[in-house]
């Protein structure tokens, strides 16, 4: 085809050169010259556009889309190139014959031109424009074209056996698609070539079928072989896994068996121990029940014996029991009475000793010891008057604890202890000591009685001097001067009327009261102790 196109191009070049030469010579008019140039330029433009469109698709699309009649020109060229211009037209035979004649004429002309020698004077070696072989081929082709050209219609490949192999399937598919493309292309070839192609396709189809069969056989064989190998491996693995599982199962089974045995052994031991304990307890209960029955039987026998003897030796037993009960109460009462009497006696004795100590004078520690004893004895002595409850009336003495309530003796004893221990620096003086101390105070009291209010050094000095000039008085009188008071207090102390003496002294005022303060405290303590001892003594005597 390329050769044909080249020859065609060369021929057209020559023709154009031969045609244009006389026109250029003959056109002298400017208008006709313009049209000639215009037509030449238009033709060159279209020829160039068509030629470039053949080599460049983009330019071809651009050329056909934008230039009028470009598409028709391209189609015309293509039809010319493919030979359809002369074969596929409506008046095919006429055109074909004319074309054939034209082609034959051209060939003859070209052959003549080729065989025609160029004159030597021109300086160019004579060479044929076209090779003889090429011309013979072109002539042969031109001679066969009109013989048996039929549309190319190829048969598709069909496999007799199903294509299990993917490669074969794809090969068939691609080949059939290619055949479809070729069939749709509308190619036209000589009948001989078409038959040859179909024959080759049949051979290819047979080969593909055979190879498909062989591949299927090979696949089946490989599947069988592989399945055998896999089956063997599976059996071996199965045997191994089974052995492992059996071993593991036996191991776990043994462990579970040991645990279960240990658990049940422990449970059995516990149950045995429990049963043993239960049995021993039951046995102990039976023994206890038996002993109880024996004791009951013994009691019954004893009761029978006692009943038999009750009318004999034990006939006075109930009377004896009542007498013993009465005696018990009597003894208890007597014991209580004796205890109370003993406590009262000791209390009276202690109070007497305490009074003697107060009269004769003794240390404070002795008094405190005596008071502690008095407290102890006072707690032993029951309350003189009963609480009046049923128990006290019935038994004749207080047994319900009401006698333990605090009584006057207890209060007095605790108060006495408080008085003695609260002021340990203040001694409990005797009457003689109090009298002597009062006598020592009497001179100072006389001096203080002469002091003026808010006395200075001269007032004190004067009172000291003039107190020496006062006369002493004796006896009890009701005057309020200091000499009478001093005499009265002295008389009261002498008569053991300490309370009256203290009353007189307390009524003093001023410096006299200040000077007598310590004496009053001592006298009051003595009075308190003496009074409390008298109270305890009186309580003890009346109990």
């Amino acid at each position: 085809m390329l050769k044909l196109s080249r020859t065609t191009i060369n021929v057209t070049k020559r023709l154009s050169s031969t045609i244009t030469a006389p026109k250029n010579v003959g056109s002298k008019h400017p208008i006709s010259n313009f049209f000639i140039k215009l037509s030449l330029a238009t033709g060159a433009f279209y020829v160039g556009g068509v030629a470039l469109s053949e080599y460049n698709d983009q330019f071809g699309s651009l050329f056909t889309d934008n230039v009028p009649l470009a598409e028709e020109a391209c189609e015309l060229y293509e039809s010319f190139r493919d030979g359809e211009l002369f074969n596929g037209s409506a008046n095919g035979s006429a055109i074909h014959s004319t074309a054939y004649e034209t082609f034959e004429d051209l060939k003859n002309k070209i052959g003549k031109l080729g065989s025609k020698e160029i004159p030597s004077g021109s300086g160019v070696s004579p060479q044929p424009l076209v090779d003889q072989n090429e011309l013979s081929e072109v002539s042969a082709a031109a001679a066969t074209v009109p013989a048996n050209i039929i549309p190319l219609s190829l048969k598709q490949l069909v496999s007799n056996t199903p294509a299990n192999n993917e490669v074969v399937g794809q090969l068939l598919k691609v080949t059939n698609e290619t055949i479809d493309v070729i069939n749709r292309g509308g190619f036209k070839l000589p009948e001989k070539d078409v038959n040859e192609l179909n024959k080759q396709l049949n051979i290819l189809n047979d080969i593909v079928s055979k190879s498909n069969v062989q591949l299927n056989k090979l696949a089946d064989q490989s599947i069988i072989t592989t399945s055998n190998v896999l089956q063997q491996e599976y059996n071996e693995k199965l045997v191994k896994e089974q052995a492992l599982l059996d071993q593991k199962y036996l191991h776990e089974f043994n462990n579970f068996k040991e645990k279960l045995e240990a658990k049940f052994q422990k449970q059995l031991k516990t149950e045995l121990t429990t049963n043993e304990e239960n049995l021993s307890a039951k046995q102990a209960n039976q023994v206890a029940l038996l002993s109880i029955k024996q004791v009951e039987q013994f009691n019954r026998i004893l009761k029978e014996k006692l009943d038999q003897e009750r009318e004999g030796r034990l006939s006075k037993l109930e009377q004896l029991d009542a007498a013993v009960s009465t005696l018990d109460g009597t003894i208890t009462k007597l014991d209580k009475y004796v205890l109370t009497r003993e406590a009262v006696t000791q209390l009276v004795t202690l109070c007497s000793q305490l009074k003697d100590n107060l009269i004769l004078g003794s240390g404070g520690d002795d008094l405190v010891k005596h008071v502690e004893k008095i407290k102890l004895l006072a707690s032993v002595i029951p309350y003189a008057s009963m609480c009046g409850c049923k128990n006290c009336k019935k038994s004749g003495f207080c047994s319900c604890g009401c006698s333990r309530k605090k009584k006057l003796m207890d209060y007095a004893a605790s108060e006495l202890e408080t008085v003695l221990t609260s002021t340990p620096d203040v001694p409990v003086l005797t009457n003689e000591q109090l009298y002597n101390r009062w006598n020592l105070l009497s001179d100072k009291l006389k001096e203080a009685s002469l002091l003026p209010p808010n006395a200075g050094i001269l007032g004190h000095f004067g009172a000291k001097i003039f107190s020496k000039l006062l006369f002493d008085k004796t006896g009890i009188s009701k005057d309020n001067d200091m000499e009478n008071v001093v005499a009265c207090v002295s008389e009261y102390i002498k008569l053991a009327k300490l309370d009256l003496a203290v009353e007189e002294v307390v009524s003093l005022d001023g410096w006299a009261r200040v000077l007598c303060n310590d004496w009053i405290i001592e006298a009051r303590k003595k009075l308190e102790v003496q009074t409390l001892v008298d109270v305890i003594y009186g309580e003890a005597r009346t109990t």
Binding site: E447, H460, L515
Partner: protein, 86 residues
Amino acid sequence: MSEQKIEEQVTATPSSAILDNRWDVVLSNTVLKTSIGFAGGVIASVLFFKRRAFPVWIGIGFGLGRGYSEGDAIFRSSAGLRSVKI
């Protein structure tokens, strides 16, 4: 500890001895002030008055007067009463 011992040793003055204690304080104070006045008079006499006698008498008078005034104050008010430490 020493303060506690001192406090324990302090005993209250017996009420009968309050006036006597005041007299003791007044007299001792008067004697002390008189002695100080006497000493001051002697020193002044020696240093400034060529051993004359009147500065000594003046000093004694000042001491006696000071003792009297303080004694009067002691007797008149309770502020002058003092506790006796054994």
